[in-house]
């Protein structure tokens, strides 16, 4: 295996995307809304289509805004249907994102005469290609760094999310565990919900535009779930989830380069392997966690029986 500076950038971009997602993922997992990332990544299609039909160009900024707006709408509609219709949150999420996707599909087909707007290539970036789009060349210790656009965008999103989680940590904690208590304490848990959902939408769209949807969906859930098995403290859970996210990104790219070689293949998709590595870390934690791990729980149980 040979390691180039491109590989370093792939890992950096992957880790940034993973950390940005994992930070917010903690609160999604605690609020039992883990599937939001998946829902948003399907639902943004009409946003992209409308942005395209209005501007008649594939400018990334308008596309981004269109997608982010529809992402927020997904969360809003989900909330409405589950509140006013008393429908299970998962079900209302499913109804909203399938309907929005269908609307997007119809719009695209209507416009398909004069454009090629393939959801597969507009929607999802490929992490392997991100280092090619260099926008900034700072000189550091005599070497020129070639910073890709995706790294800058995702660093911005990560900083935004870190700021949000740090600034509103108390509010997020209380409104995630006990919305009623939060309301009695004068915290607007509805506002917190929508702020969180807006950030989830922005992060999801920014990240899948840069690195592909699979990393987003996986990193919104898996690192946070792993961390949830290790600790009862929220701040520790948030920190651990970031550690797992970075580990998954590093191991993911390494295994994308190494593992296929064992079976006689050259290499494979980095984003897929990052998701798989997040899953492997989850399995390790699930088996070996001190308090909630399966193995130790099993051992304690057999000891108690004896």
């Amino acid at each position: 295996m040979e390691w180039y500076s491109i590989d370093t950038w792939i890992v950096v971009v992957g880790a940034l995307a993973a950390v940005a997602c994992a930070l917010l993922g903690n609160f999604l997992v605690l609020r039992k809304m883990s599937m939001m990332g998946d829902a948003i990544s399907h639902a943004v299609l009409p946003g992209l289509a409308i942005a395209f039909l209005i501007t008649e160009a594939r400018a990334s900024l308008t596309m981004f805004i269109g997608a982010a707006v529809v992402g927020v709408l997904t969360a809003v509609f989900t909330q409405w249907i589950s509140r006013f219709g008393k429908v299970d949150e998962g079900a209302s999420m499913g109804i909203v994102f399938t309907s929005l996707f269908a609307v997007g599909l119809l719009l695209i087909v209507q416009a398909a005469d004069h454009v090629d707007l393939d959801p597969g290539c507009v929607l999802y970036g490929a992490i392997e290609l991100t280092p090619l789009d260099v926008v900034w060349r700072p000189v550091l210790f005599g070497t020129t760094l070639e910073v890709p656009r995706a790294a800058l965008v995702l660093a911005g999103v990560t900083l935004l999310n870190v700021g949000f989680v740090v600034a509103y940590f108390k509010e997020l904690r209380i409104s995630s565990f006990d919305p009623e208590l939060a309301t009695t304490m004068g915290i607007n848990s509805n506002l917190m919900h929508y702020m969180l959902m807006t950030l989830v939408a922005v992060t999801t769209v920014a990240a899948f535009e840069a690195v592909g949807s699979i990393i987003v969906i996986a990193m919104l859930i898996v690192p946070a779930a792993s961390a949830h098995l290790l600790t009862d403290r929220l701040w520790l859970m948030v920190l651990l989830s970031c550690v797992f996210a970075i580990l998954a990104a590093v191991l993911g790219h390494l295994s994308a380069l190494i593992v296929p070689g064992w079976f006689g293949f050259a290499d494979t998709s980095t984003s897929g392997m990052m998701a798989v590595m997040a899953g492997v870390l989850f399995v390790v934690v699930m088996l070996s966690a001190p308090k909630y791990g399966i193995l130790l729980k099993h051992i304690r149980k057999t000891e108690a029986v004896q």
Binding site: K32, S34, D88, G94, A102, V103, L220, A256, M286
Partner: protein, 449 residues
């Protein structure tokens, strides 16, 4: 604009080209509607989403295996088997994570979805570098197209639908208990985990069969939307499932027909939107849990409570003004009633107007006073008595019997039983003044004016 005869031919399956597609989507809508009902009640609606993503690595592995054995990588039975295998493993993983750890259903589904889909992407990434790599069509396996169904799809769908239908009928009682009270079913000694696996196995069968026929999004929608729509109309499982099957079938039928007239409308998207429309209509108009019905019920409840408040306020004012033994009906000024509670002018006027329509009070508009009628006084006495009994019960006993505290004062006899009411009555003797059936309030409050 299509001719009327064409519409007729498509809707009633006379048109050869569209017949197969329409029948297939109807079948799939019915089967998914049935399974979706169970999933909805188990709060696992997104299981279809998880499952359909979890099939991807299976498709990839099956392709590799087929090529390694020297066969054609794209043989349908092989790919379907692969998809079903990883689908079942995915289901098992969701159940395992949920049962063995503190991770909840939604996160378990999300983990399986993303990790399996990631594995699928990785496997497909490897296949693309194979020398035999004619893998181009593999991804479209998971995004199938509704309009391109063939006879083999039809056979598979018929088989799956029959299988799903017969299993649900045979195990209806078991599935019902599983949906409503899993731990009770377990305590009865039923094999809850086996039942859960059978249920999810059926869902897997429907998903895999449907995926390559109609595509990912339609399957997910079919498994959620008809069931969620049916839920608004009834509280009974058998009726809900029947309705869900009908809605699923009807949206398949109508959506597929519609897209047959207009070639620019992709069938999958139209069907999803027809089902979503059914859902919206049901959400508004559903007779059991619809938004409109629940709003009406809420308003009625508020009216009843308002009426009780008004009568009690009037009664207590008369009680305070009483001279000697008998309670005399006198006109009470509006301001005085307004001062008894924190209610707005408007809501109080509404209350009074409704009480007037029911013949409980009379109004003198000029002096702005309100008078109880005889019937009104009788009901006011009843309401006030029950309210005071409740108050006393809450003061004396509620610390040991909070479960029996009911907000509606009307229910006092039904909830507490004759014995307790008699005991409360005798307790209230100390507060009771002579010559009236209504005991005095155990905690007199001097209202503001």
């Amino acid at each position: 604009m299509p001719e009327l005869a064409d519409i007729w031919n498509v809707l009633f399956l006379r048109d050869y080209n569209t017949r197969l597609v329409v029948i297939c989507t109807i079948l799939l809508g019915c089967a998914c509607g049935l399974m979706g009902g169970f999933l909805l009640l188990r709060k696992r609606s997104l299981m279809g989403d998880t499952l359909s993503h979890a099939t991807l690595p299976g498709v990839g592995f099956a392709f590799m295996l087929a090529v390694a054995m020297g066969g054609d990588g794209k043989s349908l039975p092989m790919l379907l088997t692969g998809a079903a295998v990883t689908g079942v493993i995915g289901c098992w993983a969701v159940l395992f994570i949920r049962n063995q750890t503190r991770i909840k259903d939604d996160a378990a589904m999300g983990i399986v979805l993303s990790v399996f889909f990631g594995a699928g992407v990785a496997v497909l990434g490897m296949i693309q570098t194979m020398p035999e790599g004619s893998a181009a069509g593999l991804e479209s396996f998971i995004y199938g197209k509704t309009a391109s169904m063939v006879l083999s799809d039809f056979r598979i769908l018929v088989l799956v639908t029959i299988c799903v239908l017969s299993c649900s009928l045979l195990l209806f009682k078991e599935f019902r208990l599983l949906c409503f009270d899993e731990s009770f079913a377990a305590s009865l000694g039923w094999p809850v985990k086996v039942l859960d696996v059978i249920l999810l196995g059926l869902v897997t069968a429907v998903t895999v069969a449907g995926l390559q026929a109609v595509g990912l999004i339609l399957i997910i929608a079919f498994l959620i939307t008809p069931a969620a729509a049916a839920r608004f109309w009834t509280n009974q499982l058998d009726r809900m499932l029947l309705l869900s099957v009908l809605i699923g079938g009807a949206s398949g039928w109508f959506g597929a027909s519609l897209s047959a007239f207009y070639p620019r409308l992709p069938a999958g998207a139209v069907i999803v939107l027809v089902a979503a429309l059914c859902f919206l209509i049901s959400m508004l108009l559903g007779v059991e849990r619809g938004v409109l019905v629940r709003w009406l019920r809420q308003t009625q409840l508020q009216h009843r409570i308002g009426r009780q408040h008004l009568l009690r306020a009037l009664y207590e004012i008369l009680e305070a003004n009483r001279q000697g033994g008998e309670l005399a009906i006198v006109a009470v000024p509006f301001r005085q009633i307004r001062g008894r509670r924190t209610w707005s002018d408007r809501s109080l006027r509404d209350c009074i107007r409704r009480a007037y329509d029911d013949g409980l009070v009379e109004m003198q508009v000029k002096e702005d006073t309100i008078r109880l009628t005889e019937a009104g006084l009788a009901e006011a006495a009843h309401v006030t008595r029950n309210h005071r009994l409740w108050e006393l019960y809450l003061i004396e006993y509620a610390d040991v019997a909070t479960s029996r505290v009911d907000r509606d004062a009307d229910m006092v006899e039904h909830v507490l039983g004759e014995k307790m009411v008699a005991r409360l009555e005798s307790k209230l003797q100390t507060y009771r003044s002579a010559g009236t059936l209504v005991p005095a309030s155990p905690h007199p409050i001097v209202p503001g004016d």
